[in-house]
Structures are given as structure tokens and as C-alpha cells.
């Protein structure tokens, strides 16, 4: 990973009056430690200086036992560098929002504050994101999860916030997230005077102009979801509508929240994959792979070449399965029933292949630190070759039936346009980012597994609308099929797993590994304390960033647009809610 020049970073921060201590952490890169008060200034400086760290990869917290480290993981696309900023906050501290600097922080900040019990200052919508009122800040270390005995007694299981709050002791469960002196979201001037005023307002604040006809009508609040035919899981959109026109929108999530990050802290490394499978349930191989890569970085283990090929091959098959499950419903969102069922004939073949190799159709539990769980099978090879032949025909048909259709074009072209700047600001990754003209693909720019041996193109579009996102994903499926063919033709002989101990105990340290999942940059950040379970595992959900970006574009469209637009962002609620 290319790293920024330490002296440049130090001088830039010190010129801005930020006291900083910089260290280089193995497996993670440059880490700047700043005080809680100057975290916002540090991020602003890094963004605005020549370093141009204008992309927020992730924002999360770590309970170190003495304080809560708020971690800002930043990237500069222009210089191709990454940096980590850590700011230690007191347990009753206040997190100064950076949403006006990097709007990508909107939802992660809310999540961080509710799960670590911090107050949030300067945020336009400082509400809980994932949990209900009264839920303890469970990512703090002293909050314990249920023991095995409690888990086994399923008769007593129900959501009981008090059970979680039990260990919280002195923390008032109903403590608001908003700092007492924080201005409320409804007032004017949310952002402290003198700070940068962004043009991109979050959906909670952005209001579409009154209806086209300027007629004053009563607005309806329409709760779309969590049970709705086309919200792709349990997403709930609270739409304020004026007739058919959406004037305000807010995405409400958390209906599928299971606390994967907390649960991972009590799991051994090779068993965390079962949790991550259930995060992004459409692309389990990728999340397992991200975890395996992060663990391997800490362990300093290299997985064998055959394992890398298997990882790439199954990952790409999984990518096609995921994209195809997105493409069919994208047509269904627009009302076309046919493509939905046509895509499922290919998906069936794919899931059969994946089941043949891994043993399960979606919850694979296959990629492990050190390699993969099982070797490739001969039956799967025949199935893959058959699939590749069939798919080459079907993809063209599927492409034409929807993309060539004038009605679909009229529905999607010019809708939900993300400019390059907006896409970067909101932390979009993957196909959503590439549809907005940013050529960035972790498979090419940070090669992992066997991708540096593969020959493939990165589909790109400059338009950034729903149609462009659809087209980019379609092309990605073709490229994925190409990679699979290379893998199966060049599958090397050898071991499928490295020699690693039965119980993994990575040395103390931190590691971040990202993979290009079908939804974008899926990262796993592991903090190890040397024991057999991670001290903290952070799962970067690309769909969460896509969701908060899509949310902002809803006002101004129609109800039908809202459905198509949210669908086009490829949100998977298992991953968003975790």
C-alpha cells in the first residue's frame, strides 16, 4: 500500500496547529494520533492540503480500555495513498461531526456514537441508526454478550435491551446521543459558523422545491418498507410526498442488526467467516476473503497459489451470482417481470457450482486464513465450463431485454446522477463509483489473491446515472466470466491451504484488508491483542455508504424513481445492518 510521506503529513498538520504523533504501523500504514478536540481540524487539513485525502474509507471506534479511539481511515485517489487518523475520546466524550467535510461520515458517525455511547456534535440528524432506544453502547468492552448457556436456552430469548444494559452499570440507557449544547437539526445554521458549507445536504435536511405547479398541498408521509415488495430486504424509506413527488426522504435501517462486530470479538479467527457470510449474504466469499486477508497480514502467512486461484474463481462466480441477483430485481423495480426470472436460470447454475465446492449455496464458510477449506472438485470444473458457455449467450439476452428497451431507458437515464465529486464525497465504491467515472478497482489497484495474474478490464462510465450503473454491472459480469475462465484454465497444482496452527493467535497489531466485493470496497479491520479472538473487528459495509448516498438523491423524484434509484445502488441490508 503506498504510504504518504511522513514529514509532509507532519508539517501540514502542524501548520494547521494540530499536535500530532505519527507512527508507522505494520499491516496498517501511517497512523496519526491526534487529540479528540483536533480530530476535525486534522481531517479538514488532510483533505484540503496538497495531500488531498478526500475519500473516507471508514469511520469507526475502538474501545482501548482507556478511551475510545475514533478511527478515520482516509484515502487520496489523486495520490493513491492512505492514512489513518486516530483520536482518543473520553468515554463520556463528544464526537465532532465531520459530515460537512466528508458527507460519507453521516451514517458511520451515528453508528459509532450509539454503539460506543458518545455524544454527537454538529450532526444534522443525530438519531440512533441501528439499535433501539435504551440499548446499551454494546461495543464497549465491559458489555458482555450472552453466554453459551443463555444462548442454548432458546425459550427465554427475546430482544431485551435491559439485558444488555445490565452490565452498563452507571450509563443511563436513555442517554441522548446529542450533546446538550448542540444545536438541533431543525434550527438554521447547523454547522458552526466559519466552517465549510457543503453543497450536498443529507436527505434529512434536503428538501425538494415545492411541487412543479407551485400549488400548496398537504404532504403525506409514506413509510415505504420494511415490508414492501421492492425495498431489497428490510430497508425502510420514510418518504414525505407531495402527490407523487418526493420532497423529503430518510432511510431507516437496523431491522436486521445482529451485532456481527461484537459477536466476532468472542469468536476464534477461523469461525468468524460464518458471521460475515450473513453480513453480505449475496457475496459471502468476498467477506470471508477480506477477513482471511486481514488475518493473514497479521499472521504473516502467505496462502498457496492454488488457494489464491480458488479464491479468485469462486469470488468471481459469487460476483456474477450477486450481480445477477441485482440485475433481475432492477428490472422488477421498473416493473419488468421477465428478466428477473431469466437471470435466475443462471443463478441456479452458479449456486449449484458453489454448493459443489463449498458445501452451501450462500453461507459458504469456505475461505479461511491460510487458504481455503476444501480442494476443488472435478464435478465443479465440468459445471463451471458448462456455465461459462451458457452464460455467454444468456448475458447478451439479458442485456438486450432490459437495456435495449426504450421504456427502461426512459425510466433510468438521467435518474440519480452522481457526479465524480459527489460519489467520492459520499464514499461510494465499486460499480457505483466506476459508473461515476472514477477508475478504481481494488482488484487492480491493490491486488490481492491471484488478481495480479489475471487479465481483465475495468468497466467505466462517465455518466453516473442509474442506467450507467446497470451497464457497468453488466460489463463486470462479462469480465468476471473472463476471469473465471482464466482461473479454470490455469488452475495450478499444489496445496490448497498453508500450514497454519489449529488455533490462530495473531500477534498484537492492527490490519486492514479490503476486497472488491460486488458492492464495492469491503474491508475488514482487525485489532488483535494476541489472543485467539480478535480484540475488535470492524466490517466496512460498502452498501451502507451507497445507501446514504442514494438517500440524498430521493427528494425531487417520484415514488417510482425512489424504488428504481435505491435499487440501483445495490443495497444489501444484511450488510448495512450487520
Amino acid at each position: 500500500m503506498p504510504q504518504p510521506d511522513l514529514t509532509v503529513v507532519r508539517s501540514a498538520l502542524e501548520r494547521a496547529g494540530v499536535a500530532v504523533s505519527i507512527e508507522e504501523v505494520a499491516c496498517l500504514g501511517v497512523v496519526c494520533r491526534v487529540s479528540a478536540d483536533s480530530a476535525r481540524a486534522a481531517v479538514a487539513t488532510l483533505r484540503d492540503s496538497d495531500l488531498a485525502f478526500d475519500f473516507l474509507i471508514d469511520l469507526f471506534g475502538i474501545d482501548t480500555g482507556e478511551a475510545i479511539d475514533v478511527v478515520y481511515h482516509l484515502r487520496s485517489f489523486s495520490r493513491d495513498e492512505e492514512i489513518v487518523v486516530k483520536a482518543a475520546h473520553d468515554y463520556d466524550g463528544v464526537l465532532a461531526s465531520i459530515w460537512d467535510l466528508l458527507p460519507a461520515a453521516l451514517m458511520p458517525e451515528r453508528e459509532l456514537c450509539e454503539l460506543f455511547g458518545l455524544s454527537l456534535l454538529g450532526h444534522p440528524n443525530p438519531k440512533r441508526l441501528l439499535t433501539t432506544d435504551g440499548c446499551a453502547p454494546y461495543l464497549r468492552k465491559f458489555v458482555e454478550i450472552r453466554s453459551d448457556e443463555e444462548v442454548r436456552d432458546r425459550s427465554t430469548q427475546h430482544v431485551n435491551p435491559k439485558r444488555l444494559a445490565r452490565a452498563a452499570g452507571s450509563i443511563a440507557a436513555e442517554e441522548p446521543m446529542v450533546a446538550p449544547d448542540a444545536p438541533s437539526a431543525t434550527q438554521d445554521g447547523i454547522v458552526a459558523p466559519g466552517t465549510f458549507q457543503p453543497t450536498l445536504l443529507p436527505a434529512g435536511l434536503r428538501r425538494a422545491p415545492a411541487g412543479v405547479d407551485q400549488v400548496t398541498t398537504e404532504h403525506l408521509v409514506l413509510s415505504m418498507g420494511p415490508q414492501h415488495p421492492s425495498t431489497h430486504g428490510v430497508l425502510r424509506l420514510n418518504l414525505e410526498i407531495d402527490g407523487e413527488e418526493v420532497v423529503g426522504a430518510e432511510a431507516i435501517i437496523g431491522y436486521l442488526h445482529r451485532g456481527i462486530e461484537k459477536l466476532a470479538e468472542s469468536r476464534r479467527y477461523h469461525t468468524i467467516g460464518t458471521l460475515l457470510d450473513r453480513g453480505d449474504y449475496l457475496a459471502g466469499i468476498h467477506s470471508e476473503l477480506a477477513l482471511a486477508l486481514a488475518t493473514e497480514k497479521l499472521l504473516e502467512v502467505e496462502s498457496p497459489r492454488r488457494a489464491n486461484y480458488l479464491r479468485v474463481m469462486l469470488g468471481e462466480l459469487n460476483r456474477i451470482a450477486s450481480h445477477i441477483t441485482w440485475y433481475g430485481p432492477a428490472g422488477l423495480d421498473a416493473g419488468a417481470m421477465g428478466p428477473f426470472l431469466y437471470t435466475f436460470r443462471d443463478r441456479e447454475l452458479l449456486l449449484d457450482i458453489l454448493e459443489d465446492v463449498t458445501g452451501a449455496r450462500m453461507m459458504f464458510n469456505y475461505v479461511r486464513p491460510g487458504g481455503v477449506l476444501r480442494d476443488f472438485t472435478t464435478t465443479a470444473e465440468a459445471k463451471i465450463r458448462h456455465f461459462l458457455d451458457v452464460f455467454a449467450v444468456h448475458i447478451e439476452e439479458n442485456d438486450e431485454i432490459l437495456m435495449g428497451n426504450e421504456i427502461f431507458q426512459a425510466r433510468t437515464q438521467g435518474l440519480g446522477v452522481f457526479s465524480r465529486e459527489a460519489a467520492l464525497g459520499f464514499g461510494l465504491t465499486g460499480a457505483n463509483l466506476r459508473a461515476s467515472g472514477v477508475s478504481w478497482d481494488i482488484r487492480r489497484d491493490r491486488p490481492y489473491a491471484a488478481y495480479n495474474e489475471m487479465d481483465f478490464d475495468i468497466p467505466l462510465s462517465e455518466v453516473g446515472d442509474v442506467y450507467a450503473r446497470t451497464a457497468v454491472r453488466l460489463d463486470e459480469m462479462r469480465q468476471a466470466a473472463r476471469i473465471v475462465r482464466q482461473c479454470i484454465d490455469g488452475l495450478p497444482e499444489g496445496e490448497f491451504t498453508a500450514k497454519v496452527p489449529k488455533v490462530l493467535r495473531p500477534p498484537v497489531g492492527e490490519a486492514y484488508a479490503a476486497v472488491e466485493s460486488p458492492r464495492g470496497e469491503l474491508g475488514v479491520h482487525i485489532v488483535s491483542d494476541g489472543s485467539d479472538t480478535p480484540y475488535r473487528m470492524r466490517y466496512r459495509p460498502p452498501a451502507l455508504y451507497a445507501l446514504q448516498a442514494g438517500e440524498t438523491l430521493l427528494p425531487g423524484g417520484l415514488i417510482a424513481d425512489a424504488v428504481v434509484l435505491m435499487g440501483s445502488m445495490d443495497v444489501v441490508l444484511g450488510e448495512i445492518d450487520r
Binding site: P229, G331, L341, Y342, N405, I559
Partner: protein
């Protein structure tokens, strides 16, 4: 025979036809969509699943029918009837053969349009009375579509009326003895687009757009009240297809075959043509995406209305020139 008895019998015949049509069309829809989507459709109940729809009707009839507490009860109960009755009335004017017509109305075409335009009233009632936002939006869309497409549809049918010289559907069919009016392609296309919208077919099924509005105006309905709404929707599809056959495809006639020869099987010919039309409607339903509501209205006001008026004028002009030439020759 008693005149009243005949009236009642004819009415019952129309009602039976409508109900049987509904059951057959639901089965057909499932099978056609199934095959379009590489499936088989229902297969288990009866041979090739033929009894599936019958079971479904029995289920709908015997199901508990809860009424949501916040609905406007009077309108809520009335709405399915208001939707159902006009589509039944439209059957009265359809000529299944030279003699098989419930009422041979001199203004048959106008009658069909008139009663069909009552349906959105029932849909609006259903949407409003349900006290549900999805229902209300769906109902408003239905009314918007109705207002937009009533006029273009009628105007698109007028060239046929001019060519036949009558508004009586039987006369229109007889006028197509050798040449079907589908030769007037633009009129046919315009009529089809308007009719798709009028009968709520797929590229324009905005009133109950499933992926947007859950089930539109029918969201709160269940059991047989839902059954009636559902039945009337299928009935509308049938009427639209039958009307297209009557206006453009020669009704019960087979070209170049004397009417006396066709007469014994005329209703069969008519139903066959109608069901072919329904098949295409179902194929469209299984394939095409849905337009947005503003696009539908734009299509109506900015394209369909001016074009249909223009084509009416052009048809008139061509006919005038044709007849002048014929006279002068």
C-alpha cells in the same frame, strides 16, 4: 316467450361468460407467464393444474373477509360492485356472432366506452375508502390515466367508425367482410396504446404498480371483494381484446369465407381471435417494464391526443379523395 325471461336469460349468459372467462384467463395467465419465464405454471391440481383456479375461486369465496377498522365502510363495500358492474355491462354490446349479442345497440361502441369510463370511479372509491396511502395514490393514478386516455381512445377508434359508417359494433364487423380495418395501421396502434392504458395493462399498470404501490387500490381488500376487483380487471382485458378484434380484425368473420359458412362457428372464431389478443397482452405483461406516471401522462397529452386527431383528419381526407376518385371514374 316472455320478453322479461329473455332479458334475464341474456343477462345471465353475459354474467356466466364473464365469470368463466375470468377463471379461464387466470389459468391462462399463469400458464403463459410460466412458459414465458421458463416455468410450467400450476401443475398439481387436475391435469396440468387446470383445477388450480377453481380451487382459488373456492378459497376466495370461503375466506374470512376482515374489514379494516379505519375504512369508510359504505364506500369500501360499494367500490368492488362499482368496479364490477360496468365491466359486466360492457359485455352486453359485444357481438359474438351475427345473432349472438345480448343487446344489439345502435350506438354500441359509444356504450362500451361510456360504461368502461365508470370503472375509475369505482377504483377511486376503493382507494379513498381504504384509508390507505398506497390505495389512494393508486386510485389517483387510475383516474389520471382515465382522464388522459378516454379521449384519445375514442378518437383513435373514430377512423374505423368512419370507414364502417356506423357506431353499431355488428355493422362495423360486417363492414370488414373482406378487408380488416387493421389496414389502417396508425389507428390500430393508437387504439392499442390507449387501450392498454385504459384497461390497466402492463407498461401502464400504474394503478396497482406492484413494485411501487404494493397492490395499489386493492391493498386493503381481501376475500371475494378482492376477487371482484381482480375479476373485473381480467374482464377489462377481455373487453379490450374483444373490442380490438371487433374494430380491427373482422370480429367473427373469416376473410374470403361467406358469412353463412362461418355462421355456425362464428362465436368460436370470435373467441379464438380474442384469446389470441389476450395472449399477446399477457406476453407484454410478463416482459415489459412499467412507465413512470409522468411519462404516461406526457405520452397521452403530448403524443397520443394530437396524433389521433391528426390521423382522424388524414383518414377523412383519404376517404374523401378515394370516394371522389371513385365517383369521377
Amino acid at each position: 316467450m316472455n320478453t322479461w325471461l329473455i332479458v334475464v336469460l341474456r343477462f345471465l349468459a353475459a354474467l356466466t361468460l364473464m365469470l368463466v372467462n375470468g377463471v379461464v384467463m387466470i389459468y391462462m395467465l399463469r400458464k403463459v407467464l410460466g412458459r414465458l419465464h421458463l416455468r410450467l405454471g400450476p401443475m398439481d391440481n387436475g391435469p396440468w393444474g387446470m383445477l388450480q383456479t377453481v380451487y382459488d375461486v373456492i378459497k376466495l369465496l370461503t375466506k374470512e373477509d376482515p374489514t379494516p377498522s379505519a375504512v369508510d365502510r359504505g364506500l369500501f363495500f360499494l367500490a368492488p360492485a362499482v368496479v364490477f358492474v360496468p365491466s359486466l355491462m360492457a359485455y352486453i354490446a359485444l357481438p359474438f356472432s351475427r345473432t349472438w349479442v345480448v343487446a344489439d345497440l345502435p350506438l354500441g361502441l359509444l356504450f362500451v366506452f361510456a360504461v368502461m369510463s365508470l370503472i375509475p370511479l369505482g377504483i377511486l372509491m376503493a382507494g379513498w375508502a381504504s384509508n390507505n396511502k398506497w390505495s389512494l395514490i393508486g386510485a389517483m393514478r387510475a383516474v389520471g390515466a382515465q382522464v388522459t386516455y378516454e379521449v384519445p381512445m375514442l378518437i383513435a377508434a373514430l377512423p374505423v367508425v368512419m370507414m364502417a359508417g356506423s357506431l353499431n359494433l355488428g355493422d362495423i364487423v360486417r363492414a370488414q367482410h373482406n378487408v380488416w380495418f387493421v389496414v389502417n395501421v396508425p389507428a390500430f396502434v393508437l387504439f392499442c396504446i390507449a387501450g392498454l392504458i385504459e384497461s390497466g395493462q402492463t407498461p401502464f399498470d400504474l394503478a396497482e404498480a406492484e413494485s411501487e404501490l404494493v397492490a395499489g387500490f386493492a391493498t386493503e381488500y381481501s376475500a371475494m371483494k378482492f376477487g371482484l376487483l381482480f375479476l373485473s380487471e381480467f374482464s377489462n382485458t377481455f373487453i379490450f381484446s374483444a373490442l380490438t378484434v371487433t374494430l380491427f380484425f373482422g370480429g367473427w368473420q373469416v376473410p374470403f369465407v361467406p358469412a353463412d359458412v362461418v355462421q355456425p362457428i362464428a362465436p368460436v372464431v370470435f373467441m379464438l381471435k380474442t384469446y389470441i389478443g389476450i395472449f399477446f397482452l399477457m406476453a407484454i405483461r410478463g416482459t415489459l417494464p412499467r412507465v413512470r406516471v409522468d411519462q404516461m401522462l406526457e405520452l397521452g397529452w403530448k403524443f397520443l391526443l394530437p396524433t389521433s386527431i391528426a390521423w382522424l383528419l388524414i383518414t377523412g381526407l383519404i376517404m374523401k379523395i378515394g370516394s371522389t376518385l371513385a365517383v369521377s371514374r
